[in-house]
Amino acid sequence: MRTARRISQIVFFLFFIFLFLITRYPYEHGITTEIFLRFSPLSPVFMFIKDLKINLLFLPALIILFFTVFFGRFFCGWICPLGTLLDISGKIVKSPLNRISEKWQKLRYLKFALLIGLLILALFSVHIWGYFDPLSIFNRALTIVFYPLATLFAEKALLALSNVSFLEDPAYWLYDQFKYAIMPENQAHYQQLFWIALFIFLILIAEKLSRRFWCRYLCPAGALLSFLSQFRFYERIVGEQCPACNKCQIECKMNAIPQDDVGYTNKVECIECFNCGATCPPKYNAITYRWRWTPYRTSVDYSRRRFLGTSVASITALGLLGVGIKNKEAINQQVRPPGSLTEEDFKDKCIRCMECVRICASNGACLQPSGIQSSIADLWLPIAEMRTGYCEYNCNQCGQVCPTEAILPLTLAQKKKTPMGLAYFDKNLCIPFARNEDCIVCEEHCPTSEKAIKFDIRDFTDPKTGQTRKVKYPYVIKELCIGCGICVYKCPLEGKPAIFVTIENQKRPTSSDILKS
């Protein structure tokens, strides 16, 4: 069973990474790559609170929830890619024995507190659970940290090799393969890299304190599954012949076997890694796993007193999220992906998984994880940064990969008619206005079929030389501009661009808009 579990972990892990890799232009393989984010057990619950209906979009998660009642936290042990990553990390940093990590045991309630806290916030319609969703964390780290890091090294190395004369051809051959299979787009660079890297680093390095530290003490998805597995029917049964050598107890990833009672399993903690069965010495072979219609119950490590504490903490968090200043200037710059729901709904539904950011990197590459701009909950929402990229006119792919439909899947025709914002010139910087010389690079690139940037041709007489020349002075037509930002991206000024996009004129559909008609 342990071998089966390991294979399952590897298969799911590689499968998720494969899905990640093919989340890119042209996206015509017909596979909905975001499906793996819909494995997250938390999503159907929180989406239910948001929409008050069961969303079949999250069918994979619903199936997992259903089977958890009978089989327990198999998701954590067999499927979750973050869990697998933690196991790898644990091997590298050498997690201590359960005997030593026992001292953290009292923190078990934290994951329940976190889950309940997030639920309370959600009931007050503040949805920030996405920050702690394990699959979202995994995809976020992969998109922003691991993948760019890997491609950076790979590309640098291959290009360096290609400079060595006799290696030029094989190196370029390898480079072509790399470009074909791994990174057809340009090297990605992301803001917020430091914080997202720190977040995942802390989770991974916590393996130094105990095995699966995150899963044992913090993970809200684990907590939800714990609630459901209190009565699990599939049980670990220890036979009479057991001499209590405690080998299984030592090997237990979750420390779910009490030191003084190896016959018992903490069903709420057990993730069915089957390490116990595999370590039980063959001469005893005391452990069997069996289905029983009259299961015993393990109760959740969470008292009423703790619930009060959690409530107070969540109300405080609620307040903190509310009292921040509303920075109008910052809000005006928060250009969202085309087809994003209205800002309130968008904030609630977006789980900060970075799937849209990932696919955008192979298109216009404008989407970035946002920093804290006007409220803490702005953090890591996708934002279109037009100086580092632009929204590609013929692209609608972010909407197609958003797992929660925080960005609606617009058709290309709809997307082209859904402005993200409106461009304004900064005439103090714009070359024709500032220096009375031609430029209009913005106009050249403006993709709308009737250009949203037009220009006046006016005579300019140079006071020094007395010579008169014709200069093209550009301006934006509000009705035509879709806020794609390629004008900002291509503006040849070195630093601050002379044109910028604001959210004015943006079109944000509401959930109820049946855009798919």
């Binding site: 290609s162 787009e185 192979s362 298109n363 692209c395 040849p492």
Partner: protein, 300 residues
């Protein structure tokens, strides 16, 4: 290094020898047999090209056996061929075949695109058809630009794509389009696709800067694709109404002359278009505009 030089000197030698048949041709048909430019109209891209090359004395006049040829089409935009923002893919493919038949060892195609390169290469359909025809279609690699001395009136040096510089022969294949800044984009402007750095900076004082750089990188041949031309909202276009089916092709070994000829498609005159006018003034043209010999053919 040594080996390279050796090969180079050999190919110089063979170049000398292979000039003979050309001279022979000239003797045979009398000099001035070949026009300085060809204008063919009323045919499909492949037919236009075939006839134009025929009238011009065949590609063999320019391409030697074993040459590495770079074809530089316009692949700048994420637009399908019907919208006339990129060079016609079938023309490019036919040209690849012609180069191969003329003895080219390798035909390379690339362009520094304005939209996402994957999208442009794909949706222009140039990647597909040119690869089928046997070309190596590559994305621009950022480490392959080389700073070259320009010493122009304004531009002193600029980054140019190495594969372009190292090619034995270069064929520039622009599509004829409207452009707000330069009025038209043709052969001279199409060469911006091999320039590195911040190209937007070329836009102010455009005529002077463009001709400064172009002077150093003029191609062997220029073939203007005017099968479909874009008459407004260029160079991106997007509205089928702005596309005109003109079924024309212009070929010359002088970029400036080819560009000058193409102006009539847009109802423009040389005086209207500063960058082409300046190209003449700065001596980029091989032929005098007044005395240019053009063979005009209408296919039927």
């Amino acid at each position: 290094m040594k080996r390279r030089q050796f090969i180079r000197s050999i190919s110089l030698g063979t170049a000398g020898i292979s000039l003979l048949p050309v001279l022979g041709n000239k003797l045979l048909y009398g000099s001035g047999q070949f026009p300085q430019a060809v204008w063919v109209e009323n045919g499909e891209p492949e037919q236009l090209l075939k006839r134009a090359l025929q009238e011009f004395g065949g590609l063999k006049r320019f391409i030697k056996k074993g040459d590495v040829v770079v074809i530089k089409p316009n692949i700048g935009w994420d637009r399908p061929p019907e919208l006339a923002a990129n060079t016609n893919p079938h023309l490019v493919a036919a040209l690849v075949k012609a180069c191969k038949e003329a003895g080219a060892k390798k035909v390379k195609i690339f362009d520094r695109t304005c939209n996402n390169p994957q999208r442009c290469y794909r949706n222009s359909q140039i990647q597909k058809w040119a690869e089928k025809a046997g070309a190596k279609v590559e994305h621009i690699r950022p480490n392959r630009f080389k700073k070259i001395t320009i010493d122009g009136n304004i531009v002193k040096e600029w980054l140019i794509y190495r594969d372009y510089l190292e090619a034995d022969k270069v064929i520039n294949v622009p599509i004829a389009k409207h452009h707000s800044l330069s009025l038209v984009t043709l052969g001279l402007k199409n060469l911006m696709g091999v320039m590195g750095d911040n190209r937007g900076l070329i836009h102010n004082n455009f005529a002077e800067k463009l001709t400064d750089i172009d002077r150093k990188i003029l191609p062997t041949l220029t073939i203007i694709d005017a099968y479909r031309i874009l008459t407004a909202n260029g160079p991106v276009g997007g509205n089928p109404k702005d596309v005109k089916l003109t079924k024309t092709l212009i070929l010359s070994d002088c970029t400036v002359s080819a560009d000058n000829l193409a102006l009539s498609l847009f109802g423009l005159k040389l005086e209207d278009v500063p960058h082409i006018k300046m190209a003449y003034e700065k001596g980029l043209a091989k032929y005098d505009p007044g005395k240019l010999t053009v063979r005009r053919v209408t296919l039927g």
